[in-house]
């Protein structure tokens, strides 16, 4: 076939189609107008979603990628639009979310002259992207796009930025697309080392009290089944990190909950009691480990990861198993003996009971006083038969979402783990609904966080998008209030919030909305919200001084778990 001549903008659209892109989030402007003009010709083949802010476009691309496993795409203009996406890009970097953000840029002859809406996007994004590249010639479009998608989705995924100068958008060149599957300076999947497989298997076979900690790597590597097979064969209890949640069903008998600052009592305590700690696709974040000096010192530690830079970064390990978990887990499972660790598993029970009595019961079953966050979240979860995608914002709503939602299917919790980005929830939920139109998407957000990206109500309105948004209104920046109550002598500096009428705002956007203030109205309101696939904003007035327990204060030992007043 003879290569065709295309403008850079048409080449971009075509390249995106070649990469299987079906949905694009974005916002137009001067330095990207030619691309949007080209997009106009592709309306029948790609769904384009106009968000109300570029940060929203980036988070929507993340939500789309997280729920679907496909690369999320955002297209925005230069300057302020590009900088508006930075939060989303940084978020995707820390959470390994494959997105490609395409930013317009001034003409290449103007680069470096402080031209109108010029920002040095490449320099700004280098530290927060897996790769960023400036396309300055139409003939480089196909090469750059194919590389961008390959880099974003392969190995340890992450964000890629393509900064597209206006002359390159307008210029013409031959277009021939070849997908990229090799870069000689980039090894996305390290080779499995048979010695480390054997060493790890030997340690696990010798374990009396093994504990697995499952991170998002298992989801990113689509190794959920392989994981469960390994856990079941060797009878290993497992806990998840925040981003690892939903890699294994919440109902699985070997699932022991979440580790970390607001994780479950059992797995946190047992981290410092197990004899072998098997870390799988997780990165020993400080919110998981607390004080490193006291973290799992008694245990032999095995670390499965795809990224050599993660090995021994925070925690020194005894055996590292580098490679793709899709291969490494089955390779080890094959060498594991069938085991039964009943006595060890039973040791979790008293902690589960203790946490239930001290924390969970109050959170879920008190019918007195104001509604509690956990209660709302569990009811919504159960009303969806635990099948929904749970999206959260950041703060107490996030920790409660993680703790009280239940997960039957993988890719069911979408939350900003590494960056902790308030304002992530609503746009990420929009992206998730586009990425999984047949799933129910429930987004929990605080009264603070919703107001960081509330303009995305406009996107929901325009797209008639069936996102179920639950605003947990405590009239406080709740999580900060909690720290102030616990550690700052109840000096509530800058955390009480006077809020608008959220129902009226939703209704102004033509979104059905309802306020619930009483326990007794909750079930019915949730049922109404979930009765079909229409957009819905449920505003729930929750307890002002609610607390997320258990809590391990930052930087302390994982066994230093506070349970609140018992």
């Amino acid at each position: 076939m003879k290569p065709e001549i295309k403008t850079g903008s048409h080449a971009l659209m075509h390249a995106l189609l070649e990469e299987g892109v079906e949905t694009i989030f974005g916002y137009p402007g001067g330095a990207i107008i030619p691309v949007f003009d080209a997009l106009y010709d592709y309306h029948d083949r790609v769904k384009y979603v106009l968000t109300r802010h570029e940060q929203g476009a980036a988070h929507a691309a993340e939500g789309y990628a997280r729920v679907s496993g496909k690369v999320g795409v955002a297209i925005v203009t230069s300057g302020p639009a590009a900088t508006n996406t930075i939060t989303g890009i940084a978020d995707a970097m820390l959470d390994n979310t494959p997105i490609v953000v395409i930013t317009g840029q001034v003409g290449s002859s103007l680069l470096g002259t402080d031209a109108f809406q010029e920002t040095d996007v490449i320099s700004i994004t280098q530290p927060i992207t897996k790769w960023s590249y400036q396309i300055r010639r139409a003939e480089d479009v196909a090469w750059a796009v194919s590389r961008a998608f390959y880099i974003a989705r392969s190995g340890r995924p992450g964000p890629v930025v393509l900064d597209f100068t206006k002359d390159a958008q307008l210029g013409k060149a031959e277009f021939k697309y070849e997908p990229c599957n090799f870069i000689r300076s980039y090894l996305p999947y390290p080779d499995l080392q048979i010695e480390s497989i054997e060493a790890a298997a030997a340690i696990i076979n010798g374990a009396k009290k093994p504990l697995a900690i499952v991170g998002q790597g298992v989801v990113l590597g689509s190794a959920e089944k392989e994981l469960v097979a390994m856990l079941e064969k060797a009878d290993i209890p497992a806990a998840c990190t925040l981003l690892g949640l939903s890699a294994i069903s919440s109902e699985h008998p070997l699932f022991k909950g979440m580790v970390g600052m607001h994780g479950n009592l059992g797995p946190n305590i047992k981290t410092n009691d197990c004899d072998v700690l098997i870390a799988i696709g997780m990165r020993f974040d400080d919110r998981v480990t607390g004080d490193l000096k006291t973290y799992a010192k008694q245990a032999k530690i095995i670390h499965f990861d795809i990224d050599p830079a993660e090995i021994n970064k925070n925690v020194k390990v005894d055996v590292s198993v580098l490679g793709d978990v899709k291969e490494s887990i089955p390779a080890i499972t094959a060498k594991l003996n069938k085991a039964n660790h009943q006595a060890w598993k039973d040791e979790f029970l008293p902690y589960e009971e203790k946490e239930y009595n001290a924390v969970i019961k109050k959170e879920l079953t008190s019918s007195e006083g104001k509604i509690k966050m956990g209660e709302v979240i569990r009811k919504v979860s159960e009303a969806t038969n635990n099948q929904a995608v749970c999206v959260t914002d950041v703060g107490q709503n996030q920790m409660m979402g993680a703790r009280y939602f239940k997960y039957k299917n993988t890719r069911s919790l979408i939350t900003s783990g590494g960056l902790g980005t308030m304002g992530f929830g609503l746009p990420a939920a929009i992206g998730a609904k586009f990425g999984a139109p047949n799933r129910t998407v429930c987004c929990f957000v605080g009264d603070g966080g919703i107001q960081m990206t509330i303009q995305e109500f406009g996107t929901i309105m325009q797209e008639k998008l069936g996102v179920k948004l639950i605003i947990l209104n405590n009239n406080f920046l709740g999580m900060v209030r909690q720290w102030q109550e616990m550690f700052q002598n109840e000096r509530y500096s800058s955390t009480p919030m006077q809020n608008p009428n959220f129902v009226a705002i939703a209704q102004a956007y033509n979104i059905e909305s309802r306020l619930v203030t009483k326990h007794t109205d909750l079930d019915e309101a949730i049922a109404d919200m979930l009765s079909d696939d229409r957009p819905y904003v449920l505003v729930v007035d929750v307890e002002q001084n609610g607390m997320v327990y258990p809590m391990i204060p930052a930087g302390t030992c994982v066994t230093n778990v506070l349970l609140g007043d018992e």
Binding site: W131, I151, N181, F182, S185, Y186, P308, A309, I311, N312
Partner: protein
């Protein structure tokens, strides 16, 4: 852990902005770069960075892995001085009047094995190659005897003593990968 001087060698594709990508990795860990030298390598299209810094073993291992992770970096590794043949070059500008008045030129040249690059009625320019301590010794001597008008020292350049050629090995390995993949 003990801090010492490490030499980091980075081979990369010739892409705009790589230096920045590499240096910010040091910046994030607040490690000062002592010397830096960048040049094309023996292989066409491949650039070589030689960076020295004081840090400890744990840290340098992490830094090098982080550098290696950048997409366009081919290979990055670190060495201590004993594993390297390394060199720096220094230039010294001295007032001709002062140095002639002191009559120490021949002594200096013999002792420091240096060269004269330029000589005129105003100034003389010496060149000395050697290890840091050697170029520094000459500087110290000139500074006390005649004073130094200008002084400049290059970043370190270094070659490993080992028989293993890490870049070639890596390139061969990746070539093999590509062959397997295209099968």
């Amino acid at each position: 852990m003990e801090k010492k001087l490490y030499t980091v060698t980075v081979f990369s594709e010739n892409q705009v902005g790589l230096l920045n990508q590499i240096t910010i990795i040091f910046t994030r860990r607040s490690i000062n770069i002592e010397t830096l030298s960048v040049s094309p390598s023996a292989l066409p299209g491949i650039h070589k960075f030689t960076i020295t810094c004081y840090t400890d073993k744990d840290m340098i291992v992490k830094v090098v892995k982080q550098i290696d992770k950048r997409i366009d970096v081919l290979k990055s590794y670190y060495n201590v001085d004993e594993e390297l043949v390394h060199q720096e070059i220094a230039l010294y500008k001295i007032s001709s009047k002062k140095i002639l008045a002191r009559g120490i030129m021949e002594d200096l040249i013999r002792k420091h094995n240096m060269q004269v690059l330029e000589l005129n009625e105003h100034y003389v320019v010496f060149q000395k190659t050697g290890h840091h301590a050697e170029t520094q010794a000459l500087f110290d001597e000139l500074q006390t005897s005649t004073g130094v008008l200008q002084f400049i020292r290059s970043g370190r350049v270094a070659i490993t003593k080992s028989k293993i050629e890490r870049l070639s090995d890596m390139l061969a390995y990746m070539e093999e990968k590509q062959k397997q993949q295209s099968k």
